[in-house]
């Protein structure tokens, strides 16, 4: 491979550089019980997709800066005006007007607690998280919804007070840049790259 895929946007068009796919030869699949007759083939493939975060980009960029962004519907005509959404949403699902991005890092630090959780011993291919994965769903005061994320330190339980941590060093710009630890966790206990 000469150079791995890189992408920029100019004039609102994708400009790509490097290799987005790799040619790998296929191999036959044979029947070991019946004279190795042909049953099928493998189809190897390595390719890179591009993906736009669109109006959610601000959420993922903010994680790398140590901020948890939510959105709030400020449309005076909306039946559910004032609802705060986490996961961040671009448009209000009730009135479809663009919502106002708000920084809810402080609300999270002061009120986040575990609504439910699961310790998962398995993962799918391409998972970057260590096993077991400690899934937690987090409720916040004044927020209409319950965010899914993971607990990076300690053992989860319902009602546990947690605080957000952010991957500010070598961020991935994915949801993995946000994790949670029990309130009172010391800074030196955080995983590499993460800080409060």
């Amino acid at each position: 491979m000469s150079r791995f895929a890189e992408v920029q946007v100019k004039n609102n068009q994708y400009k790509i550089k490097g290799d987005f796919h790799e040619l790998i030869p296929n191999t036959p699949i044979r029947d070991a019980d019946n004279g190795h007759r042909l049953m099928g083939i493998t189809n190897p493939r390595m390719l890179v997709h591009m993906h736009s975060y669109g109006g959610e980009a601000v959420f993922f960029e903010s994680l790398s800066q140590g901020k948890l962004m939510a959105s709030r519907c400020d449309n005076p005509k909306c039946e559910y005006k004032g609802s705060i959404w986490q996961p961040f949403r671009i448009a209000c699902p009730d009135c479809l007007r663009k919502m106002t991005p708000i920084d809810m890092t402080d609300i999270a630090r002061k009120t986040a607690k575990v609504h439910t959780f699961m310790v998962c011993e398995r993962s799918g291919a391409f998972s970057l998280l260590d096993k077991p994965i400690k899934f937690i769903n987090i409720e916040f005061d004044g927020v209409a919804t319950i965010l899914m994320s993971y607990l990076a330190v300690g053992e989860p339980k319902m009602g546990l007070r947690v605080v957000p941590i952010f991957k500010k060093i070598d961020p991935t710009y994915t949801i993995l840049d946000l994790a949670w630890v029990p309130e009172g966790t010391k800074a030196d206990a955080l995983p590499f790259g993460f800080s409060f």
């Binding site: 699949i29 049953m39 099928g40 189809n43 993906h51 975060y53 959610e56 993922f60 559910y80 959404w85 986490q86 996961p87 949403r89 699902p93 609504h115 439910t116 959780f117 699961m118 310790v119 998962c120 011993e121 398995r122 993962s123 799918g124 291919a125 391409f126 998972s127 970057l128 998280l129 994965i133 899934f135 937690i136 769903n137 209409a144 919804t145 319950i146 965010l147 899914m148 994320s149 993971y150 319902m158 994915t174 949801i175 993995l176």
Partner: protein, 477 residues
């Protein structure tokens, strides 16, 4: 608290009666490397023709439109896989369309097929579903399944769908199961029951004679869920032929299949559980607001509805279906059901969503013995036997086919053909040995049945209801 509008809560009404005439299915297995998907679909359609003593070519002449359920293009590595099957079944020049709604794909395919007939567009429709989950290793399979979750907000979290669902199971386990050993054993009993019933089903992938302790000793996937609490990954196909009344009568004249009235309803809820907001419980005809008044006191932590413990999609599918068909109490009005037992615990949750037991009391359906073919406590027929096929845990979860397999199974009971269609010739056909202690699970005098088809964390759910037309609950249904 959110509310739904009067228009959203309109009770669905079909323009004319719709009938299930026949159905068929392939064998199901973890891998079927000696057959292409189209061969499995041919097996299913051929069986459907055989059930009404027809040649496939003859039956095909009646079909006017085709609905194809296939959940994952990723698994098949073939976009427009529906067109491949349509070509191989030789169904040109008929209009056809692919349907995909995750785990509910089979049910949704029937939903579309039924509406095509109800509207008058077609008089005879093919609903065919399949899945091929054997062409990648299990961890890549789990990755592909996780692609059905939100790819930015959930997927990167382990690429494991089980995890996204399991947080809901944990909440149910703690709030309603109260983390009791007895509740854990009831969950295990469901796995024992479904693997056990699968022993009588020639098409089933995982027949097993196991005990509650075997389930409790199987490897932990996500505590309290263990490997034997989970559904299968499968390959296979199933189909149904849906008709208007004149065509149904013509196709079944002098045949063993009596045409059965069919209705399908559908509900939904947010793809990300994270987005769920609180609401009042939409009540089924056998429930009152009064009974849920001090719900949060009876079950501390259970005061949010649907929270992470109820499946609104399933509740709404039942809400529409029962009103559409005149069902007042599913346990009294139905004779046999197939539920979407993705996990033992979600099976229990769905007893409550579809009103077999009130919210919070699902376990009683198992513990009372009502869910069995023969109630182990009384030795008498179970009040409302469920998942006699073995369900997703014992029979299969070839996603696009699952809801249709369930419908084939419940129809066999109403046709009084369960023993025949699960008898020796079908064991031979599936290349499997009929066990010496094979048991006839025919539900005697079954007249009405329900199948629930459910996607993942509850984003899509359908309710399919079959009735013997001489035993309707509502004349204008």
């Amino acid at each position: 608290m959110i509310k739904f509008s009067e228009q959203q809560l309109k009770v669905p009404k079909m323009m004319r009666p719709v009938y299930l005439v026949t159905a068929g299915q392939s064998k199901f297995d973890r891998a079927i490397p000696d057959k292409r998907t189209e061969e499995l679909c041919v097996d299913a359609l051929t069986m459907a023709a055989e059930m009404i003593d027809m040649e496939p070519a003859e039956l095909k002449k009646y079909i006017h439109t085709c609905y194809y359920g296939h959940f994952a293009d990723h698994f098949g590595d073939q976009l427009l896989g529906e067109a491949v099957i349509h070509d191989r079944l030789g169904l040109d020049p008929l209009g056809n369309i692919g349907v995909k709604t995750g785990g509910a794909t089979g049910g949704s395919t029937l939903w579309e097929a039924v509406k095509a007939v109800a509207s008058g567009y077609s008089d005879c429709v093919l609903a065919m579903g399949w899945e091929r989950m054997d062409e990648v290793p299990t961890d890549e399979g789990n990755f592909y399944i996780s692609c059905a979750a939100d790819k930015d907000w959930e997927g990167p979290l382990g690429h494991i769908y089980t995890g996204y669902y399991a947080v809901m199971a944990q909440k149910y386990w703690q709030v309603f199961g109260k983390e009791e050993e007895s509740f854990r054993r009831t969950m295990a009993e469901i796995s024992v029951k479904h693997h056990g019933y699968a022993c009588n089903n020639p098409y089933a992938q995982a027949p097993m004679k196991i005990t509650v302790d075997d389930v409790l000793k199987s490897p932990v996937v996500a505590y309290p869920l263990r490997a034997l609490d989970a559904c299968l990954m499968s390959v296979g196909a199933a189909c149904a032929i849906i008709c208007d009344e004149p065509t149904a009568m013509k196709l079944t004249k002098g045949k063993k299949n009596k045409p059965l009235r069919i209705w399908v309803s559908a509900g939904s809820h947010t793809l990300r559980p994270a987005d769920r907001r609180d609401m009042e419980i939409p009540l089924l005809p056998n429930e009152t607001a009064e009974q849920y008044k001090d719900f949060g006191k009876k079950f501390p932590g259970g005061d949010r509805y649907p929270g992470f413990t109820g499946f609104l999609g399933a509740r709404m599918a039942a809400w529409y279906a029962y009103r559409m068909t005149g069902i007042k109490d599913p346990t009294e009005d139905l004779d046999v059901i197939e539920l979407h037992d993705a996990f033992t615990i979600s099976d229990i949750q769905s007893y409550e969503d579809v009103g077999i037991r009130p919210y919070g009391y699902g376990r009683d359906y198992v513990e009372s013995g009502d869910c069995y073919h023969t109630n182990p406590k009384t030795g008498k027929p179970g009040k409302l036997p469920s998942n006699l096929s073995g369900g997703l845990i014992g029979c299969m979860h070839a996603v696009g086919a699952t809801g249709i397999m369930q419908t084939f199974e419940i129809a066999c009971h109403i046709w009084n053909r369960w023993a025949e269609m699960h008898g020796k010739p079908y064991w031979d056909r599936c290349g499997r040995t009929m066990p010496k202690d094979w048991t006839d699970l025919q539900v005697k005098d079954a007249k009405r049945a329900l199948a629930i088809s459910h996607a993942g964390v509850g984003s899509h759910v359908t309710a399919t209801i079959l009735m013997d037309p001489d035993h309707l609950l509502k004349n204008d249904a």
